[in-house]
């Protein structure tokens, strides 16, 4: 748990401070980018992979401003973990993915009742140095 938190902290710091971050801009087309925009895109929910130490997790977040992300929830990717009371997300169109996105939106609403996450037409609206590699 300590290792997991340490890696995750370093990764989250990296997303907002790094000169370049790999981004999956189109949902369902992720290969192994650092962050990805989730379906449906109008929900403005993104995820970050936390793969080490196994089992892998996904951390769900939204952008409050450019280069300012608010990490809200997390879920196990493929294997249940005892310290998260959630089923694994599994397949990309699963019910658990949808639930995770709804839960992320709900947490945001609790924190920011009247403030919407930012929206943009390309990655530059969200991150300085976001790289969508083809």
């Amino acid at each position: 748990m300590g290792q997991r938190c340490a890696r995750l902290r370093a990764d989250l710091e990296n997303i907002v401070t790094a000169e370049h971050v790999t981004v999956c801009w189109d949902p369902f087309k992720a290969r192994n980018e650092q962050i990805g925009r989730l379906n449906p895109v109008q929900d403005e929910v993104w995820d970050l992979r936390s793969q080490e130490p196994p089992p892998g997790l996904r951390v769900f977040f939204r952008f409050a401003l450019k280069d300012v992300l608010v990490a809200l929830t997390c879920a196990p990717r493929s294997v249940p973990v005892p310290w998260i009371n959630r089923l694994p997300l599994l397949g990309r169109t699963s019910r658990e993915w949808r639930k995770a996105i709804i839960e992320c939106r709900r947490e945001w609403r609790l924190l920011f009742p009247t403030y919407e996450p930012i929206r943009g037409t390309d990655i530059n609206a969200y991150l300085t140095g976001g790289a969508v590699l083809c």
């Binding site: 340490a6 902290r9 290969r31 192994n32 980018e33 650092q34 793969q51 083809c134």
Partner: protein, 160 residues
Amino acid sequence: MPTLQEEQFFAELAAGHSGPPIPEAKRVYFQTRLRNRLFNYILGKFVAEQKNGLTKAALARRIGKPPEMINRWLGAPSNLTLDTVSDLLLGICSEELVPQSETLLREPQQNQLPAISIKDMASSVTNDSKSVSGGRDPSATVNAETTSGVKELPTLSAAA
């Protein structure tokens, strides 16, 4: 001046060679940070060379690796090893990494105004108000301590 949180975070490091063991979680944090930095460095090189026509396919061909391996290496920091860092730098820009490190204990503070700036600001504000009422007193001295012994923002007291 470091915050209490920062002082605690660096406590084991600041204790020197005879200090307590550095906790595993702290080592893992810096391992990840290093990996992320290396990845960012290589990704930056690749993005720059893309503008000069470099593609993942060309890079794969250049260093004799399958394209899907290049995808993996340039996708996330967790896929890098020292050998892949070397291959990628050679293939992307014909460069090699030159090791350099810096101490963590003198890392500049972020998101925090240096104490001196706050003092200067306070002095400046007080001086400005004095200027309005008759000009700056050259004999003004800084008094940073209150009678209760608690440090406060400096105030100017003019010598009689």
